[in-house]
């Protein structure tokens, strides 16, 4: 789950990207006279230092919402391995996890998320206002990371306190902004678009960096690069310019390399990032749920395709896994205990706890679908930017389960939820 405190950069990157060839020609741009700039972040007042009481409250909430299960956070201890989602994944990938070689090979072949997670250090470069707004309504900021920030059930006052903890300092006065059109050209010529994309503006050609980047630097940069459309809201303008010039001087573990951009050039780039006219974020479409299958579906098949592959990581009986049952069982990420065990047939049939602590079936209809199906469909709606009524999209912070697999689950339910062989 999780990734992304889309913190990190807004900026600019690099290199020749052979896997993403540059478009032959940019779309025609409209002159500044025809399209007046939309000044955003640069026109607002710099943020004052956060209230110390709020900062302290925020630190406690960061622990409560278990942000450290995925993020390394300055001033917060990492969790035990049992609770360390990202650490566990990374140990498995590195071959350091205490398991047999066969188990490691099996997991390594399946593991796709949390290999990289932005650390929450140097977060003073971010806009506190944006952090507070983003947390309760998280969306995907880093399109090349599989996991994205989960959609928490977070009251605004909690988000404000966490934002105060992450961004406690007063904001430096905004720099004099440069020339936006020149900034757009620099985004291309400096190689930024080798890793970044910027949705909502005419396509910017991806040209190579002046100095070729090492393959691992390029790969990490591409994986972590945020969509630059968010930079104007995410980053404090002065910090944005600093970041573009030398990211690692701002954040030691930044995935973005320095590209030899001068401060004046960075001001031009920042001007474009802050002022370019943006198309609205498109509302996506939710693919249609295929009709139910006309063949027998076993629980073993559903388990292999859905529950065993993904869901059980957060929804397991702690007595069976001999450890943490995950946030979807024991509670976590600010969510109450649901005691939902999706690691076994019997656990699935035993339902989950509702908001009042009473057990309910996961098969009872919600929004016209069995509850468990409604949660999976809701994730499609969340990702498409469509409203969701009453249920949280699952899997939390991960790409939606394919509609074909949801149809498989629905068919199994309609066929009587039999256990069958092999379960």
């Amino acid at each position: 789950m999780i990734r992304a405190f889309p913190w990190v950069a807004a900026a600019v990157l690099l290199t020749a990207c052979e896997s993403e060839p540059a478009p032959a020609m940019p779309r025609p741009t409209v002159s500044a006279a025809e399209r007046p700039p939309q000044p955003l972040a640069p026109t607002r007042s710099p943020e004052a230092a956060a209230d110390a009481t709020l900062v302290a409250k925020g630190k406690g909430l960061v622990a409560e919402y278990q942000c450290n299960r995925c993020h390394d956070i300055a001033g917060i201890e990492p969790p035990e391995l049992d609770f360390d989602c990202a650490g566990c994944h990374q140990k498995i990938l590195a071959g350091d996890f205490d398991a047999t070689e066969e188990e490691l090979a099996h997991w390594q072949g399946r593991l796709q998320s949390l290999d990289e997670v932005p650390s929450l250090s140097a977060t003073d470069r971010l806009s506190r206002t944006w952090v507070a707004t983003f947390l309760p309504e998280a969306h995907d900021v880093r399109p090349n990371l599989m996991a994205s920030m989960p959609r928490f059930d977070m009251p605004a006052e909690d988000a404000e306190a966490i934002a105060a903890f992450l961004v406690p300092s007063a904001e430096a006065p905004g720099p004099a902004l440069g020339d936006a059109e020149r900034g757009r050209t620099l985004l291309s010529s400096k190689g930024c678009m080798s890793c970044h994309r910027m949705t909502g503006v005419p396509s910017i050609p991806a040209l190579p960096t002046a100095e070729p980047l090492a393959a691992d630097v390029l790969a990490r940069g591409q994986k972590m690069a945020p969509d630059l459309r968010w930079a104007r809201d995410r980053m404090r303008p002065a910090a944005l310019v600093q970041w573009i010039v030398d990211p690692k001087a701002v954040k030691a573990d930044a995935s973005m390399p320095s590209l030899g951009v001068t401060e004046a050039e960075a001001a031009d780039i920042a001007a474009y990032l802050g002022q370019a006219e943006l198309e609205p974020v498109p509302v996506g479409t939710v693919p249609a749920l295929p009709p139910s299958l006309d063949r027998a579906v076993t629980f073993a098949e559903v388990n292999e395709r859905i529950f065993g592959k993904i869901c059980r990581h957060c929804h397991s009986d702690p007595n069976v896994v001999i450890g943490d049952g995950g946030p979807g069982y024991d509670g976590g990420f600010g969510f109450p205990k649901r005691a939902l065990d999706l690691s076994t047939y019997e656990g699935l049939r035993s339902g989950s706890l509702d908001d009042h602590g009473k057990r309910r079936s996961v098969f009872k209809p919600v929004n016209g679908q069995p509850r468990i199906v409604a949660h999976l469909l809701a994730r499609h709606a969340e990702v498409a930017g469509q409203p969701v009524d009453g249920v949280r999209g699952m899997p939390l912070g991960l790409p939606p389960i394919p509609m074909e697999d949801i149809a498989l689950l629905k068919t199994w339910i309609e066929q009587g939820r039999k256990k069958g062989e092999g379960a």
Binding site: A99, E101, N319, R349, S350, K418, K419
Partner: protein
């Protein structure tokens, strides 16, 4: 033991005899294998549960007892091992119930005489009740407790209450739970309720071996 000695010698020779091409990772892999913790308790509990699910009560008890000598204690083991102890203990208790108490659980609990059999059943029922209360989120455990109650005179009313609630809320974890409910309802004279429970049992794909009222 001999295998490890042999492996150590082989690694030593590989290091000393540098002129001989070797897979340098072999020793490292061996070392890692050696330090990996093999949790025999967990393996045995998993195996015991599997055996019980296959209807092999006696074998399940034998395997579960192997690592948990003091399995009759209700206080269990220290917290660090409590979850595993509880699983082993409930497996033994449920196996005992399914054997109607006629299982050898050790000294004083041989299950051979009528008194010993009833003692075993009383112990098993108590274990399952205590665990069921301690783990209210575990509905499967509730069905085990209800199953134990069915082996006591007059226990069917309480069993029907436990299982009926789960059935009404569509929370019955197993087909066997419906079959037990059907048995309890039949004993209580609720024929239509019993038939409905059996029907639900069969809808979960089980046959008469599970979905019947003995």
């Amino acid at each position: 033991m001999m295998k490890w000695k042999g492996a150590a010698v082989a690694c030593l020779l590989a290091v000393v005899g540098a002129s001989v091409p070797t897979d340098a990772n072999a020793c490292l892999r061996m070392k890692r294998r050696r330090v990996q913790k093999v949790d025999h308790k967990l393996q045995d509990v998993n195996r015991a549960e599997h055996l019980l699910a296959k209807g092999k009560s006696k074998a399940a008890v034998k395997v579960a007892r192997r690592r948990f000598k003091k399995f009759t204690s209700v206080t269990g083991e220290p917290d660090s091992g409590k979850a595993l102890f509880n699983r082993a203990q409930r497996t033994i208790a449920l196996a005992t119930v399914r054997a109607d108490g006629a299982l050898d659980l050790g000294r004083g609990m041989r299950g051979k005489t009528e008194d010993e059999r009833l003692l075993n059943l009383a112990w098993a029922t108590n274990v399952l009740e205590v665990q069921s209360v301690a783990e209210p989120d575990n509905l499967l455990l509730r069905t085990y407790h209800a199953e134990a109650l069915m082996h006591h005179p007059g226990g069917e009313a309480q069993a029907a209450e436990i299982l009926g609630r789960m059935s009404n809320d569509d929370l019955m974890p197993t087909a066997r739970g419906y079959a037990l409910l059907a048995q309890a309802q039949q004993k209580l004279g609720d024929v239509s309720g019993s038939d409905l429970s059996l029907q639900r049992c069969r809808e979960l794909g089980e046959g008469d071996d599970i979905c019947s009222v003995a």
